[in-house]
């Protein structure tokens, strides 16, 4: 089994996805406390709900 400090074995698919990861968002999140990160998730979920509602309303008007 791999030791804690050993890097993970590179996987070409993961490495390909990694190139598109927005690290600016990660760096912003790492500046937040854990509680702030979870609260941000809750606000994101509320926003997602509102987006879905708006999308459904727009669809129903077609």
């Amino acid at each position: 089994m791999r030791r804690q400090d050993e890097p993970f074995e590179p996987d070409p698919v993961i490495e390909a996805y990694k190139r598109d990861v927005d690290r600016t968002l990660i760096r912003e999140n790492l500046r937040l406390s854990v509680e702030e990160r979870v609260e941000k998730l809750a606000r994101l979920q509320e926003f997602a709900e509102e987006l879905r509602r708006a999308g459904r309303e727009q669809e129903s008007q077609k």
Binding site: F8, D11, E15, Y17, V21, I26, L30, L32, A42, Q45
Partner: protein
């Protein structure tokens, strides 16, 4: 919508032994991805099953996606006879996992977990390295994208350390 604060507070204040895993754990470590359910690995001792049943009973747990009217009894026997439960509650979506692929059960995951202070409660969350390990072990296509972000988080943290 899932009330993460209410769910984690409820479980912790009811002395339920659990470890946060999945997307919420990823958020704890800095993920920018949206998750809409709380995934926890729960300890499967008789006492803990009782605490879990008692704490969630008022919030009407029911199998998520099951046809309405399907008999489902929220009690210790149901938990004992099953392992992983994908639930809706009046506090939102909660996945109760007895074990996870690549990680095992509560006892196996606990040494690889971190203790969080969250909303004036204390609870355990799977550590970032073990989270990456279990996501890799799950091997689902959707997990590969998640793993990429988690590994990027690990790299950023090591860079800052």
């Amino acid at each position: 919508m899932t009330d993460f604060r209410a769910l984690t507070s409820l479980l912790a204040n009811s002395a339920v032994e659990f470890i946060i895993v999945g997307g919420t754990a990823a958020t704890v470590h800095g993920s920018a991805r949206l998750t809409e359910d709380l995934d926890i690995v729960y300890r499967r001792t008789e006492d803990n099953l009782s605490r879990l049943v008692r704490s969630l009973a008022p919030y009407k747990p029911y199998l998520r996606g099951a046809p309405a009217g399907l008999p489902f009894s929220w009690d210790e026997r149901t938990l004992r006879n099953g392992l992983n439960f994908t639930l809706n509650t009046t506090l939102g979506a909660l996945d109760l996992l007895g074990e996870i692929a690549g990680g095992g059960d509560y006892e196996k995951l606990l040494p690889h977990s971190i203790r969080l202070q969250l909303y004036n409660i204390e609870c355990y969350c799977l550590g970032l390295e073990r989270l990456i390990h279990v996501k890799r072990a799950a091997g689902r296509p959707k997990d590969l994208e998640t793993v990429a972000e988690l590994e990027a988080i690990l790299e950023e943290r090591r860079r800052d350390a």
